[in-house]
Amino acid sequence: MSGNEMQFSDVISRRGFNKSLRGGLFSIALASLLQRDSRANESAWSPPDGLPHFAPKAKSVIWLFMNGGVSQVESFDPKPMLNKYSGKTIAETPFASVQDPKKLAIERLVVPDANGNQRNKIYPLQSGYKKYGQSGIELSDFFPHTGSQADKIAFVRSMWTTDSNHGAQTQFHSGRHQNDGDFPTLGAWVHYGLGSLNENLPQFISMGYREYWNLKDGHYLGPAHDAVPMRIDPKNPLDFGRPEGPITQAEQKAGLDLVQKLNRVRGRSYPADAALSARMASYELAYRMQMSVPEVVDFSRETAETKALYGMDRPESKDFGMQLLAARRLVERGVRFIQIQHGGGGAGSWDAHGGLKANHARNAQAVDQPCAGLIADLDRRGMLDSTIVVFATEFGRTPGTQGSDGRDHHIFGFSVWMAGGGIKGGTVHGATDELGFHAVENRHYVTDIHATILHQLGLDSRRLELPTRKRLEIDHGNVIREIIA
């Protein structure tokens, strides 16, 4: 071993790292760890080493998020009572107590507005519903394809949150209300806590549309833990993902070879320079990334059958289908966390204040087939066991009508689902009351979903906490053990 290497490994052993982890991305992690470490103020604390805290069940997450708020009663929690009491005020039904102000006190407003109010007149279901699969789970007719996969899915029908406006989008990602400030999102925590599975690809990728108040992830963990935005465009999938000037691949290769050689020479004058090693590794990685990423979104070698499975053969579901197929390909190649947000425009395309029937029919057509296709495809490739698929939304919608044909924001009870990665399929967990108003059984705040995912990935959020950033109990959430296989 040269003196240079000895010092380097000195540093490594001082930090208690396994030697076998050296090289590649580890160096990059090391450089940022050294930086972070110098800020730590408690000797007991050390930054994450990239390893899970306990045996993981899953290794990747595909996080699907519906912007604007999906109606629970027209998706995964149909409520026949809405048909029975259609047109009546809530006070006229036997369930008048749902509007007890004490039960409504969880709401936290950024500002009172025209939306987010109580809607009193019961609005009947805008879709039929029926039982699916061997588990016989009742789902709305808007989601027949999801229904076909019901036996692989755990539906959580008892979610609640506190922001009755679209700050709830951020809240579902970070666990904190907008009034409290900005906090790292789940993907950032996973990225912060776990090492890389593939050195050629970014480990945290986002696709789709994010609202302006929800653009970033790392926050106090640092911008290095922001998701890398990706586009379904083989020619230009990443920012700076290809040369923006005239240069051939051969020239580029020659130039980067020169840089690495020169860096190596420079390293003799600056031995044990972790930043230099990290930069050299980052160039190798960047080059491979530039070569690898276009391939991920190049679907030419996928069969027509697969494309159809993802709904790519129909215009209404093509865009989302392509993103989900890309997600599968990313997971296949070892990407940790893929966040896909569906539905831009206004405050999110699911935000059906009016015309709910047409709105949800259109949006469901865009996502239902792709979601079901993703689960089926992961399953047949043997990847579902190690991949968690989450279908979430910012909040539900009111049982009462807004205007003549819409539903307003509703934070007191709504539905999400999870599949794969050790989640128990064919499960319904939690319940709302007869009107789909309040979550009444096994109530879950949004961070319970985070806790469940982290648990499946083998992470303990308390061990990731920074000494300078005390988190609240509710930030950590509770694992939903009932939906774990």
Binding site: N18, A224, D239
Partner: protein, 906 residues
């Protein structure tokens, strides 16, 4: 199950980890050690209420002796009957520790450890010291100018900084690095002081100088360069949370549209070396301290930036948190929901701080040359709601204010032993009636003169057209095909001429009207008794303007009627009749001088939507007095008795010269923070800052003149030092750092000679940034809009950025190797490098020069050889077959911009 090889490693690693963990657990069971296993639990879970800070129930748990002594209920760690164990395990809610809301219960493992320790006799070290008290905490103690150690060593002592550091070297057996070479230092110095690399001329000039005098001269030159203010402004903008405005689409929700005036104030102030304490005071309270100084009112952009359209709590929470963190280095935000766990900051202290800011809102001051604040204006703070009460929110919940008591403005007095000296300030007339500012009248007059000239030209044109049309009638010309008859046309032109006459009449009235109003505004302020006639004159002038307006409207309605053009409001005749009625009414009011005149508008309140998102809250008005609360706070912060601000400031300055602070927890100097290794050095610098009249340039000069700052960064041959001080806590070397995002981009432009040195002004919008060659400081930078090139290099986060990250991620490699910026700069760079060469064909000379300019070092023969080979390869690999030398040189320069040392300061 998993196919990828990477996952196999993953499982192996996991097994490895489990093995270690289980081994650890086994060891722990056998033997519980107080210092290792027990004290950390008590410290993190119990000390906040049972330690030096607070002694609830008279109990302290920070030494074994004190646990035995116990509190109101006696010994808590008796072997068979431990109250401590009872209280952390009881099911009784009222008795359980930690109490509900003060932390989660201890885990079974933790309880088990405690029990084992107590059962084994609860032993601890004999010489155990209690937790230091608040008074003993280093940061809360007064800054005493420490004596400069008289030290001799085998290394240079340039100034007291080196003397203080030398003490640690001697004590710890460290030998500092040698001085860096001239070229390395020159590059380090230029980036440090200006954020830009040295030019070829700089390198030439410095290398021609004999001796070491060059550095001092260069420091003076750079401190006087306008680039210095730009560089350090960006640092302070990180700390002070500069952000351009953002919102949903075009809706302004956060910060301010013209907040860049504050940025320009920072740049100018730093260039002028305005005292730090003055800058703090002006940012917090320029509106109370210098209410008529538009230049310095820009400073309150610091507060105007916190504006949030919808929610006052979020706005003021951010204000309290970051005033505390940025100027005082304390985390008052931890006391929003409960008393601070580490520092003696009560929850009520948090709301007392909030009460200081409760009255303030934001308005735009109309600028010279403007008639309103639509396109430009100075966003600044003012006390709009002096009587707004502040309440403590129970457990921090805005839905649950404790209305039993209004919280008075105040500060945590333990810091300096002083409280706020509150006195309301009577504002000068121009602050409460900003229309009195002379430039307002000037601006309106100029605007109306232009309108008048336009009206005059309009009338000339109308007269001419009417003459032509009437001549046509007289001459008996036929109508144009499909056109109106000459008679009708002439009638229209006549009415158009009347309209133009009325327009000019109005324009003629406007200027005397504005002037009369300005006189009345002034008269009311100067002398209330004698103002009556002047006000009457203004009212009369306004009546005349109103009549002229009505007449113009009538003329317009009549013209429309003749032309048969459909108006919005139904039929034209009705509109004409209505206009006629308005004229009659206006004429009737001509002699009526009752009521008030309309004051000139000199500032525009920035409205909020706290009550509902669907309408603006009512305008609170510009009060005659300001509460003086923020001024009192500003004075309290910058009072010499306050030990924190100077320490916090020099720590920030030091951190940006070294890439490594003296106090690692830059925004927390409290008891949870990490103390500096060398408190005397910090205190000496703090006392220098204050003694120099808070001159930051003085501190910059001190730091870069020290031997410490001038050391090499290399670790070569420093095994001893690496072993003894691996993290360089004692600054035996200059740490080396990665350039910040702005410096990376700016240096590419500067080196290629493309950088535009224009200073100040509105930010470059996102869409124009790719083509812009302005300094990155001037890019639009908000929560929403961040330049993607800068983002790759850890761009400042606008919500909080006390220290920039220095990450190394592949996105940086992609940005430097692929961005248009780099490709477009390369040819210019080649030309720039070649320009100073005596023999432009000399490839080796080109390579040497490129290394010196771009990377800041002289290449070795090996490096020159590698670069030469690459030049050849670039020529051969060119798509066109054989490329010329210039193109190949462009490729070489492109490659060198990707060299580690381009983004690194050595």
């Amino acid at each position: 199950m998993f196919q990828q090889p990477a996952t196999r490693n993953f499982w192996i690693s996991k097994i490895w980890l489990l093995a270690i963990l289980s081994g650890y657990c086994h060891a722990a069971k056998a033997d519980v050690d107080y210092i290792r296993d027990i004290k950390p639990i008590l410290k993190s879970r119990c000390y906040a209420c049972h330690g030096a800070l607070t002694q609830k129930a008279g109990l302290r748990l920070d030494t074994v002796a004190m646990m035995h002594r116990g509190g109101d209920s006696g010994d808590v760690i008796q072997k068979s009957d431990s109250l401590l164990i009872e209280r952390v395990t009881t099911k009784e809610k009222e008795d359980h520790m930690p109490p509900e809301g003060e932390g989660s219960p201890l885990s079974p493992v933790e309880v088990d450890k405690l029990r084992q320790w107590i059962n084994a006799g609860a032993s601890g070290p004999a010489d155990e010291k209690p937790e230091p008290g608040v008074k003993d905490h280093w940061a809360f103690a007064p800054v005493h100018r420490p004596e400069i150690p008289q030290i001799r060593g085998n290394w240079p002592i340039n100034n007291p900084i080196d003397a203080f550091l030398a003490k640690d070297f001697q004590a710890r057996g460290l030998k500092p690095n040698d001085r860096a070479d001239r070229l390395t230092l020159l590059r380090r110095l230029h980036f440090d002081m200006t954020g830009l690399p040295p030019t070829p001329d700089d390198i030439q000039r410095v290398s021609d100088m004999a001796g070491e005098k060059w550095l001092e001269e260069e420091v003076t030159r750079l401190l006087n360069s306008p680039r210095h203010g730009e560089r350090w402004a960006r640092h302070w903008m990180d700390i002070w949370r500069y952000s351009d405005w953002w919102g949903l689409g075009a809706e302004h929700r956060n910060s301010q549209k013209f907040i860049w005036h504050w940025r320009d104030w920072i740049v100018e102030s730093l260039n002028a070396d305005r005292p730090y304490d003055e800058m703090v005071r002006l940012q917090l309270a320029a509106d109370e301290l210098k209410p008529n100084d538009l230049g310095d009112l820009r400073a309150t952009g610091y507060l105007a930036r916190n504006y949030f359209l919808f929610n006052r709590n979020q706005w003021l929470d951010e204000t309290v948190e970051h005033v505390s963190k940025s100027f005082l280095g304390i985390t008052t935000n931890c006391a929003k929901c409960h008393d601070h766990k580490f520092d003696p900051i009560k929850q009520t202290d948090y709301y007392a701080m909030r009460a200081i800011f409760e009255p303030y809102m934001v308005r735009n001051e109309i600028l010279p040359g403007q008639i309103n604040a639509a396109n430009d204006g100075i966003p600044r703070a003012y006390d709009a709601r002096p009587d707004e009460p502040t309440y403590r929110y129970i457990r921090g919940s805005e839905a649950n204010p404790d209305k039993s008591a209004v919280i008075a403005p105040g500060v945590p007095t333990f810091i300096s032993g002083k409280n706020l000296e509150l006195r309301p300030v009577q504002l000068p007339a121009e602050a409460r009636h900003p229309g009195l500012r002379p430039h307002i009248l000037d601006g309106l007059r100029k605007y109306q003169l232009l309108k008048q000239a336009e009206a005059r030209a309009g009338l000339q044109k109308a007269v001419k057209q009417w003459q032509e049309a009437s001549m046509a009638v007289i001459a008996g010309k036929p109508a144009k095909q499909d056109g109106p008859s000459p008679e009708k046309l002439a009638l229209e032109k006549l009415l158009a001429r009347v309209q133009a006459e009325k327009a000019l009449q109005l324009a003629d009235m406007e200027i005397p009207g504005i002037e009369a109003r300005a006189r009345a505004d002034r008269a009311i302020v100067d002398n209330k008794e004698q103002s009556e006639s002047v006000v009457k004159a203004a009212i009369e002038a306004e009546r005349r303007v109103a009549l002229a307006q009505a007449e113009l409207k009538l003329a317009t309605a009549e013209l429309a009627l003749v032309q048969g053009k459909a108006g919005k409001g139904g039929d034209l005749a009705t509109a004409r009749d209505k206009a006629q009625a308005e004229v009659n009414e206006a004429r009737g009011k001509l002699g009526d001088t009752s009521g008030r005149h309309t004051r000139l508008v000199g500032a525009e309140h920035i409205p909020t939507k706290f009550l509902t998102s669907t309408a603006f809250d009512p305008f609170p008005g510009f009060p005659e007095k300001t509460t003086g609360r923020r001024m009192a706070l500003a004075n309290w912060i910058t009072d010499r008795a306050n030990p924190l601000p100077a320490r916090v400031a020099v720590n920030h300055i030091w951190a940006r010269h070294f890439g490594q602070p003296l106090v690692p927890t830059m925004f927390d100097f409290g008891r949870k923070g990490t103390p500096p290794e060398n408190l005397e050095l910090l205190d000496w610098l703090a006392s220098e800052l204050v003694a120099s009249g808070w001159s930051m340039k003085h501190v910059h000069r001190l730091i870069v003149s020290s031997a410490a700052w001038q050391r090499q960064s290399s670790l070569a041959g420093r095994e001893n030092e690496i072993a003894r001080d691996p993290d360089n806590r004692y600054f035996w070397r200059w740490p080396g750092m990665r350039l910040e995002s702005q410096a990376v981009r700016d240096s590419i432009l500067a080196l290629s000679g493309r950088l535009d040195f224009k200073m100040g002004g509105p930010p470059i919008p996102a869409g124009e940034q790719e083509k812009s060659v302005r300094r990155s400081l001037y890019f639009f930078h908000s929560n929403n809009d961040r330049n993607s090139f800068l983002t790759a290099f850890d761009e400042a986060m606008v919500k909080e950025c006390y220290r920039r990250e220095q990450s190394i991620v592949p996105q940086q490699a992609l940005a430097l190797s692929n961005s248009r910026l780099v490709f477009e700069s390369a040819p210019a760079l080649v030309a720039k490098i070649e320009a100073g060469m005596s023999d432009q064909k000399d490839s080796s000379a080109f390579i040497r020069r490129s290394f010196e300019l771009l990377l800041g070092f002289v290449p070795s023969n090996e490096e020159i050889q590698l670069a030469r080979e690459a030049l050849g390869e670039f020529q051969n690999k060119a798509p066109s077959g054989k490329a010329d030398e210039t193109t190949a040189r462009g490729r070489l320069v492109w490659a060198l911009l990707n060299h580690n040392d381009f983004v690194t300061l050595r």
